[in-house]
């Protein structure tokens, strides 16, 4: 069977080269990436819609959001784990989606390389920053905090 290149991705096959190849000389990376989008997507529906419901629908919604609100939430390990999972899954899901879009629309190897370098750099910075914020958060920065740990 002759191979027909998908529109706008004439050079796609090149990016599939790398370690751990199967018989046809390609890796299974794109298969795992496809599967990851579906699994992380399902988890994110629960994580993100739960996040939106609790922060925007309950109580005073957006008007109630401030430092004390965040401090109250992260005093509970459940919300720390929730936000950490959401951060990692959303960033991996979004970065992988952006990678797909770059592969689809950037035609030159060089353009693709620089766009993906920028994407991956930005994603690593955001994931590391977000993770540090969740783990090093100090609720007692607020002198009027009513949390028991600050008394």
């Amino acid at each position: 069977m002759s191979e027909i290149a998908a529109p706008r991705s004439s050079t796609r096959s090149r990016s599939l080269k790398g370690g751990g190849r199967n018989r046809s000389g390609q890796t299974n990376f794109e298969l795992y990436s496809w599967l990851f989008m579906r699994l992380s997507g399902l988890a994110l529906v629960v994580l993100v819609l739960g996040h939106l419901f609790v922060n925007l629908m309950l109580g005073g919604g957006i008007t109630a959001l401030d430092f004390a609100f965040v401090a109250g939430k992260w005093a509970n390990p459940l919300w720390q784990v929730w936000d950490l999972l959401m951060l990692w899954l959303a960033m991996l899901h979004g970065t992988n989606g952006m990678r797909t879009i770059i592969n689809d629309y950037a035609e030159k190897d060089q353009t693709r390389f620089w766009l993906k370098s920028l994407l991956i750099t930005a994603s690593i910075v955001i994931v590391v920053l977000g993770t540090l914020v969740i783990f090093t958060f100090d609720p007692c920065l607020d002198p009027s905090s009513t949390l028991s740990v600050c008394k």
Partner: protein, 126 residues
């Protein structure tokens, strides 16, 4: 092979438009996510810095943009579930049109109450 795609303009039906919308909402949500992690990171700077920046989210214009953001998230979420059903459910492809209608119904059922309550918060201050 031509360097520029020639004659690839594809005018599909609702399937193509949901694909386009899934991409556009996905990119929009991704960029919001970058900003949202940065604004949340201000809790490590000081309560005042965080409260000041999060205060901009409470202004009416940004409040309306949040309506757009949540509309995009709800579409991306349930269109994503439709994609999963088309991929993994044996009857998914045959029922793809019904699934599309289902996405629209779930979107309206969740989005309309959200808009009402959120705009009450933004404009009513409560």
């Amino acid at each position: 092979m031509p360097s520029k795609p020639v004659g690839t303009l594809y005018r599909g039906h609702e399937g193509m438009w949901s694909w386009v919308a899934h991409r556009i909402t996905g990119v929009g949500i991704f960029f919001f996510l970058l900003v949202h992690v940065l604004d949340t990171a201000l809790v490590r700077v000081s309560p005042e810095a965080y409260n000041e920046v999060i205060g901009t989210y409470k202004n009416p214009i940004v409040g309306l943009m949040e309506v757009g953001l949540v509309g995009a998230i709800l579409f991306h979420a349930f269109n994503g579930i439709r994609l999963i059903l088309v991929d993994f459910w044996a009857k998914g492809p045959r029922n793809q049109r019904k699934l599309m209608i289902g996405v629209g119904v779930v979107w309206i059922v969740l989005f309309v109450p959200f808009v009402i309550r959120h705009l009450m918060h933004v404009f009513g201050g409560e």
